[in-house]
Amino acid sequence: MSNLIISPSPHIHSKDSTKSLMRDVVIALIPAVICSVVFYGWQELLVLGVSVASCVLLEWAITKFLMKAPCTVGDFSAVITGILLALNLPYTTPWWVVFIGAVVAIGVAKMTFGGIGQNIWNPALVGRVFLLVSFPTYMTTWGAPAGVVDAVSGPTPLGAIQEGLLKGGASVQDLTAAYDYKSLLFANLGGSAGEVCALALLAGFVYLCCRKVIKPWITLSIFATVALTALVFNLANPARFTGPLFNLLTGGLVLGACFMATDYVTSPMSLWGGVIFGVGIGFLTMMIRYFGAYPEGVSFAILIMNSVVPLLNRWFHQKKFGRK
């Protein structure tokens, strides 16, 4: 009686917590993780293990020894960063390169800004791009999945096409003829682990939408913009520019659109902000792919649009009740 709690309303709370939402994202990533391990074997498992363990340990160490703040590794967000970083790397990446990626992702891109919720850029992508720029050799040697073709390390589809175009002579049609879409959907091509099975990633995306963890608008507007841009360019000059379906299924677009661009912290809060964000990512991706130095542009496109998020949050608000 004497210790009754007196606090303002509301007196009950939903069961959602940061931890439960992040755990759902981990669950959504499981199909893609299983796929990549099945296709690439123990080496992929090593990359995943090193990446997740480094991310979690680094966040624990930084909160405990540097920030002297409550430890946040229990909320699963470091696990997600670890998985996403690993899925963005070739399975042949040496363990110490993976570790450096984790240091940049967690240490620089996340904890420097104050930890979960405070970072401007997607930590896993910052880690990935850092490695891409610093260790181009490791990062662009893609292994073909075990048992496929002649099992020789080869470039990704997008890399192969850009290389082919640079050499001259061959047209895009000749180069893309080597890939059929079924194999792109079902993980039969070389690429970073997360690029190999679009269906597994899409299953995770549908799960997240059904659980109302994320809303589909950002992802759908990326897909739509990529498809539309590719369609226009492809129709204008089929010999120079690859087509919509090819672009949708290659170069980590599905991974980026479903799991990286939809990161709460680094995406806009409002519906229209999200749509503009998605359109920006889609368009920039295609511009980098068609005209840039890198064969693949999703990571750069997302990081560039991450920088615009504060502005989008400032410009786009939801409609207020009873106001114009």
Partner: protein
């Protein structure tokens, strides 16, 4: 737009309304409505009967207060109310249950509507009727729209969208006829406009029953509208939007879009006041909670001490950590069981520590769930930040004053940020600034007027 879907937890829905035996003593507050407190018109030592006026309105927006028991006035003075604030209470020692002459206490249903609307509104005023949905705004004021505004629809609010509450549901089932006649009276008073009785879909028995009653009584222009389950569906602005597809503007009254909303319990009180000459002396109170040994819907005389109600049902359970007057989303935590019920008391809810515990606050992860949940289309994450920064101007620009304090943001925040607690502070600052501006403008206008008059001289 917005809203949340908490588990409805209506565990007392099967409990019929039963009258609570009279308490030995009642404490009737003179400030149990919005507006000016009423003025006591009895003196210590006076003998009063049930339904006798013991306090008169202290202004236009105020209400009559009647004795809920028969007995002797023991004291008139300050006493802590449900919120713990002192207000004047009239203490009456109960001696029997003798009603004032002229009050029809029989169960006979009177369906003929009175002709004279003015006289009807006066009866409602004399019956001390206030909005029983929670705001306790004097009903006769709501029924007298300002000149130039016109009522186009009367909405009877039977949503009862807060979890746990079942008193309106039981009233619809057990007093459906009276509620429908009350609705017909309100409809007629407002100029024979259409009337909608809005009931949430989780009460199918009530929907079916009221439809039957309307058909049986043969009133034209009253319809039942099943509403989607969603909190706060029964918020006045939200309900008008759902029924009429019109949004009441910021700071405006429902009548500005042609709506008058009255709660189910208010419709019943209107019936009692107009048809039976019976003022508000009691109301239905849901007493509930998983930890509470006995669920109940009680008919409680106004001014009954909470302790008496709780003891009647077996006392406060050992694991109860919070007692709430009202629902779990908008109700008020009560510390003092010596406080007495008022007309607007709709529920007593007992929650355990585990049910009501607030987890430690984490960082905002910018998920936007609070903005999705806000039924007013506000952005609680932003208002939270602005409130903490004390940026009153930006708070006003982002409509902090429109917050209806429904609690959806705090309820849904996965990082357990006390959004509404913080936003309340910001909202208070904005309302203060708006009032200060209005006062300054008024003072400036008066000074200009005085100067002009001085010039004339």
């Amino acid at each position: 737009m917005g809203g949340v879907h908490p588990h409805d937890s209506k565990i007392s829905r099967e409990c019929a309304i039963e009258p609570l035996p009279l308490a030995p003593v009642v404490y009737i507050s003179v400030a149990q409505h919005i507006g000016a407190p009423s003025v006591p018109v009895v003196a210590v030592g006076d003998k009063v009967k049930v339904g006798q006026v013991i306090a008169e309105p202290g202004g236009f927006v105020s209400a009559f207060i009647h004795s809920s028991v028969s007995g002797t006035v023991k004291s008139i003075g300050p006493r802590a109310d449900l919120a713990g604030r002192p207000s004047i209470h009239i203490e009456i020692e109960v001696e029997g249950d003798e009603w004032l002459e002229g009050i029809d206490t029989s169960d006979k249903l009177i369906t003929e509507l009175p002709e004279d609307n003015k006289a009807t509104i006066e009866k409602i005023r004399l019956g001390g009727v206030v909005g029983l949905g929670g705001a306790t705004f004097p009903t006769h004021v709501k029924l007298s729209p300002p000149p130039g505004s016109k009522c186009e629809r009367v909405i009877i609010n039977g949503c009862e969208c807060e979890p746990y509450l079942t008193s309106d549901f039981r009233t619809l089932l057990e007093k459906g006829e009276q509620v429908v006649v009350g609705a017909a009276i309100l409809k007629k008073v407002m100029g024979d406009v259409p009337c909608t009785i809005a009931i949430e879909e989780n009460k199918p028995e009530a929907i079916a029953h009221i439809q039957e009653v309307i058909a049986k009584l043969g009133y034209q222009g009253i319809e039942v509208m099943p509403m989607k389950m969603r909190y706060p569906q029964g918020g006045e602005k939200q309900l008008i939007d759902a029924v009429m597809h019109r949004q009441v503007g910021s700071g405006a009254l429902p009548i500005s879009v042609g709506a008058v909303v009255q709660n189910v319990a208010t419709a019943l009180a209107v019936y009692d006041a107009v048809q039976k000459g019976r003022p508000i002396v009691d109301n239905s109170v849901t007493v509930t909670g998983e930890c509470f040994p006995k669920q109940a819907n009680l008919l409680v005389r106004v001014g009954t001490p909470l302790k008496y109600i709780v003891d009647y049902l077996g006392g406060v359970p050992a694991d109860a950590a919070k007692i709430i007057s009202g629902g779990p989303m908008m109700g008020r935590a009560v510390a003092n069981l010596d406080a007495a019920t008022v007309k607007g008391t709709g529920a007593l809810l007992f929650l355990t520590e585990q049910q009501t515990r607030r987890a430690p606050e984490g960082n905002c992860i910018r998920c936007g769930k609070c903005a999705d949940a806000c039924p007013m289309g506000l952005e609680p994450f932003l208002l939270n930040k602005l409130s903490r920064n004390g940026d009153v101007e930006a708070l006003e620009a982002n409509a902090a004053q429109d917050c209806i304090e429904c609690g959806c943001c705090l309820y849904s925040c996965p990082a357990h940020i006390p959004l509404l607690d913080i936003i309340r502070q910001g909202k208070g600052a904005v309302l203060g600034a708006i009032r200060a501006r209005a006062a300054a403008a008024k003072a400036a206008a008066e000074a200009a007027k005085a100067a002009a008059e001085a010039d004339k001289k």
